[in-house]
Symmetry: C2
Subunit: 230 residues, 2 copies
């Protein structure tokens, strides 16, 4: 039920940033905001903000601006985070453990219900109140818990196999932290995050300046931030 018209890909990324900013403002006691103010903090034009939102309906009040709470509610529905999502993590290495312990995920609506690893020495250990299970249990646990999202935190070599297993188990979306490009069924969504790529973007930007003048901001793609949210 989202939109009218076709939504530009960049718009989707900005919606999350709008939501994050609005939630911060609501906490700070602000109940009203206009497109200029919202654009300012994200380095966007006011027109950009209005156009992004207009793809999904009319949320503003001419002469007034936007009601922060109203807009938050709308954005949550648009992004699909007006309800909670269950997820599983595959890989209990550094990244998997950090994700498991990252309280912010839960606060933002994502419940990690299980973590798996293929290494027998890790199976049975506990991370943030959850016991690491053998990957063999993946299919059964995903089905039983009805988890719809899988987070891949395994080495590049096994990432595709894990993705296949997650898809077989029925997940609808995959967040991939392995530095590999994964092939997924077309009815499965995938977003990837590669820290090395982010660091290389940074190295490139720094190198550029060291050479000729000129400024650069970069957004890191997945999860990228919004920095340079354009």
């Amino acid at each position: 039920m989202p939109a009218r018209g076709k939504i530009p890909r960049p718009t989707i990324k900005r919606l999350s940033l709008y939501l994050r900013e609005l939630e911060g403002r609501l906490t700070g006691g602000e109940h009203r905001i206009n497109s200029r103010q919202l654009g300012k903090v994200l380095d966007l034009t006011d027109a950009q903000v209005r156009k992004d939102l207009a793809y999904f309906g009319q949320f503003g009040h001419p002469g007034i601006g936007y009601d922060v709470e109203e807009l938050i509610t709308a954005l949550r529905r648009i992004l699909g985070v007006d309800h909670r999502w269950r997820a599983v993590i595959v890989g209990a290495g550094n990244i998997g453990r950090a994700l498991m312990s990252y309280g912010r995920l839960r606060r933002r609506g994502f419940d990690v219900v299980a973590i798996f690893d293929a290494d027998p020495t890790l199976v049975g250990t506990r991370i943030a109140e959850t016991t690491v299970q053998p990957v063999e249990h993946l299919a059964a646990v995903v089905r039983r818990s009805d988890a719809r999202i899988g987070l891949i935190a395994v080495p590049a070599e096994s990432a595709q196999a894990v993705a296949d297993a997650l898809m077989d188990a029925g997940v609808q979306g995959i967040l991939n932290f392995a530095p590999a490009r994964l092939t997924v069924a077309k009815d499965v969504a995938i977003v990837s995050v590669d820290l090395s790529v982010s660091l290389e973007q940074l190295a490139f930007s720094i190198s550029l300046r060291d050479g000729l003048p000129g400024s650069t901001r970069a957004d890191a793609g997945a999860d990228t931030e919004p920095d340079d949210a354009r």
Copy 2:
């Protein structure tokens, strides 16, 4: 010495992906590749690949394709990863510790020389052979080690203060994992990665499909993957 002409922002992100793919192929024993093959795996047209590379020079051989090693060398120079970078991490929580232990960073040319935290109970603990230092030491250590990059892994509330401290200490680039938009001097590069934003992109993509048909791939910005590298 980089480019001729102005480089599209999306091109920069793809360069890292080309490099990652090429390194994998070289390891697999492939010494030659053409734009069609390289584009295929990243879901890009062959023209896109050629155009991206052509911004920086002539690396191909008509009728033949590209020499993998030659292209890797060129891409490393372009991206600024033909030499090593020293970095410091601020924040020894889940994310900071995971980054510190993430061996891949070192393998890709980034040496984390120190990690800091404001929490006295964490100071002195060891993570991957490195002792957590008090943030008060930040300026001195950054200067002494000549670190040029700072990784921010602290809560959103303290992220801006940490960014300011890093800039004062002289870093030229910041990789920000805090869910906050940071303001930086215009001669400092910044790339941000927000896992919640990536997860929301995923939730949005899944929700879209559940509604109307249509496929979506998403790249997560920072680090994003390359998935849907278009």
